[in-house]
Symmetry: C2
Subunit: 146 residues, 2 copies
Amino acid sequence: MTAAACVLCDTPGGRLVFEALDYRVIHADEAGFPAFYRVVWRAHAREFTDLSAAERMRCMDAVAVVEQCLRAHLSPDKINLAALGNAVPHLHWHVIARFASDSHFPGSVWAGAVRERVAAQELAIAGKLPAIEHDIVQQLLALRSH
Amino acid sequence: MTAAACVLCDTPGGRLVFEALDYRVIHADEAGFPAFYRVVWRAHAREFTDLSAAERMRCMDAVAVVEQCLRAHLSPDKINLAALGNAVPHLHWHVIARFASDSHFPGSVWAGAVRERVAAQELAIAGKLPAIEHDIVQQLLALRSH
């Protein structure tokens, strides 16, 4: 199912990391948050409960893999998960590694900045993305073969 | 498992709607958002992936029930789901019915207001909470008996 003029039906929505039959994982290019991924459901589902129970489980298993890989490589102060979709009502899960020193912590990434960004920290995180994404791909491939 | 000085270990964190063995559902008293619930994991888990796969499924099944009941009674413009926990790192899922006319839409509830609140709309929503919560309880009891 696709929808006319939906940016997540028409485009990947970010740099593609992994593509499964019913979802994909992308890296989101969000200033100040280098470790920001999204699990995007392939079909144009508006709400989480538009998915069947089995689909919800597959979706959240993917979210959990991304979260776990971020934790393993970055030891973030917190992971933030969210499915909002007010602007783009096509199911996508934000999976964001948060650090106490990032520009918005402890606020959400959707609130205002509370301090300056630290370029050196962002670069250090960005340098770990290839290893993180290698693990994401391997673990999602392993999920699929179950 | 409980943690010292954790508000979600020490208090319900809102008006209790349902209590299961490993989670509870509360109504959150958040100004401007009358249909704002939380699924709070009982144990002091910091991150979603601190739960086992089976626990994650039980947790998200509860989130889905709350979402579905909000949709059935309120036909919101969007449901927002989030597990952030930057301030209170004890796993809790926000489940929020959003309306195009609410004070923050299409922004997140954690961003700034973009328009005035509409008391009449908030009251109309609040009037439906008893029926919503009746359904939440019935459906969560049904889940538990599976």
